[in-house]
């Protein structure tokens, strides 16, 4: 069976890989957007924190015998706590300065983290097993669907929608959105904005670590895994614009799928297609698809 001269097996296979990549783009760009909204900082360390999440899962298994499900719970908490320390000790000193200093600081932190892990663990990647509950797959007739990949798509959708719900539909989220618009005013209402900023950063970082744990069985645990994806995620953020949570999610998944389809129809461009789309969007709609000028 073929569609447009491409075997359906290959087409759906790449579509699935695209959805998986899109799930990671969505989770990472969501975290970046949440952090940017309140801190006005582009968190360059995001990729390194994603990598830390994966390593955290690896360490938990090696040294504590704790499996995937524990890692999914503990790694975001641990890495989020590290993020909170970074925010309190370093980022908090930069809020009054030009936002670019935050970018430079987090870039430096990313270099340190990636450099240290590369020096100790090499760059070939460490294997991480798929949990037994999710090994194997389902034959859908037109394609074979590995259970773990289905789980990644569903779990990331759930996390993204959960984040959207908290921010757009709860009291806490309304404080958060208000503080994004006007922190001084929100603070004068008696809300502890600096603590909210700290927790927001911790949450965004935890989200990156959560994505890292989910990525570990698919891409192996690799010190450089965050370095390459973060640049693509930056392009995703530029395309989607930072204005809306749902926008980040839709853009992330959409671009993942487009990237996957490019692998089928024109493989040479699969590395660059997202950047090309970024250029087109910048020419036609400089603020991004879902963004607003600020």
């Amino acid at each position: 069976m073929t569609i447009f001269g491409i075997p359906t097996q290959a087409l759906f296979g790449q579509l699935l890989i695209g959805l998986i990549n899109g799930a990671f783009y969505a989770m990472l760009s969501l975290g970046l957007a949440v952090i940017f909204g309140l801190l006005n900082i582009i968190n360059f360390t995001h990729g390194a924190q994603y990598m830390l999440g994966a390593f955290c899962a690896y360490f938990l298994l090696q040294f504590a015998g704790m499996g995937y499900w524990w890692a999914l719970l503990i790694a975001p908490l641990v890495v989020g706590a590290v993020g909170i320390v970074i925010e309190r000790t370093m980022l908090a000193r930069l809020y009054k300065l030009d936002h670019l200093y935050g970018l430079l600081l987090t870039f430096g932190l990313a270099l340190i983290l990636q450099g240290l892990f590369t020096n100790y663990y090499g760059s070939s990647g460490l294997p991480y097993q798929i949990p037994p509950e999710l090994s194997g797959g389902i034959n859908l007739g037109f394609m074979f669907l590995p259970k773990y990949r289905a789980w990644v798509i569903i779990a990331s959708l759930a996390v993204c929608l959960g984040t959207w719900f908290v921010i757009e539909r709860t009291k806490l989220g309304s404080y958060l959105r208000a503080a994004t618009e006007n922190p001084a005013l929100v603070q004068s209402f008696g809300i502890d904005v600096p603590r909210m900023v700290t927790l927001t950063y911790g949450f965004g970082v935890g989200l990156a670590a959560f994505a890292g744990v989910m990525a570990a069985p698919i891409y192996t645990v690799n010190p450089q895994m965050g370095a390459n994806i973060i640049i693509v995620v930056f392009a995703v953020v530029v395309i989607g614009g930072m204005g809306s949570i749902l926008g980040a999610v839709i853009t992330g998944f959409g671009l993942g799928v487009i990237e996957g389809l490019t692998k089928v129809f024109y493989p040479e461009a699969s590395n660059t297609v997202i950047f090309v789309i970024m250029v087109i969007v910048l020419v036609l709609r400089p603020a991004g698809l879902f963004g607003r000028e600020r």
């Binding site: 030009d98 870039f107 430096g108 340190i112 950047f275």
Partner: protein, 330 residues
Amino acid sequence: MSGEAPAASIPTRLGGPLVAIAAMAAIFAVAPFVGIYPVFLMKALCFALFACAFNLLIGFGGLLSFGHAMFLGTAGYVCAHAAKEWGWPPEAAILLGTAASAALGIVTGLVTIRRQGIYFAMITLALAQMVFFFYLQTPFTHGEDGIQSVPRGMLLGALDLRNPLTMYYVVLVIFLAAFLLIFRVIRSPFGQVLKAIRENEPRAISLGYDVDRYKLLAFVLSAALAGLAGATKAIVFQLASLTDVHWTMSGEVVLMTLLGGMGTIFGPVVGAFVFVSIETYLSAGLTVFGYTFGAQWVPVLTGFIFVICVLAFRRGIVGEIGAWWDRVKR
């Protein structure tokens, strides 16, 4: 970056800086005779020029490019290809490489200047990554191997560049010419308008300046000069490789400029020399408490310098000295 007003460290009189530039030229002219290797000096000078070109954009235009490696690398590849495959003389190959980077600067500049600040940084980074993937896949760059054993050739048919000392003085002349050009541009009405845009863009627009055109011009100029550095580097080291287009290179030039002092005239030169010195020492292996740190520690150290500079040392070496000098004079 409008945070710290680095422009204050530029004196208004012309005499002081010109004397300093002459002193710098004299130091470089005698440097090979006091035991400093020409290869080290040439590498540092190429990076110094690269950092000066980058500084033109961030220090005087307020635009943080996180993708300047694409200009360094593009010029390197084009220059190396012209010199090796087409047999062009070095001066023509360098000019072609520079022109290629300028052309890339026009195309990317038209896209990037549509956004500012953090977005500008992200967009330049993404475009540079696109360029990186292009060079990774296209055959003429020879992938991971790069273009190797590029002939240095005869400059203008007269100077044999295979002699390291001749090569060094050619690099020095190129560097000084570009440095004077940047110095001249900063002090021209064009440079003043750039500074005005950096400080307050809406006001510059309201004064009737075509802000986008000024930004684009600054971007293309910076791209061309970064290209000049890359093309010269390709001839000096007879190599054009993926290292020069990788995002780590874009990060390194940011670091050199930040370390030396953004928005100062000499800062990028000092920063480049310090950075290349560190890199050279680490490559040879540095033993501390019985543990040897090699070249693989360069990224970690780079990261630490970034963090320290941003937290405690934002004016950079030259900026701090300038501030200290201002205090002493009072």
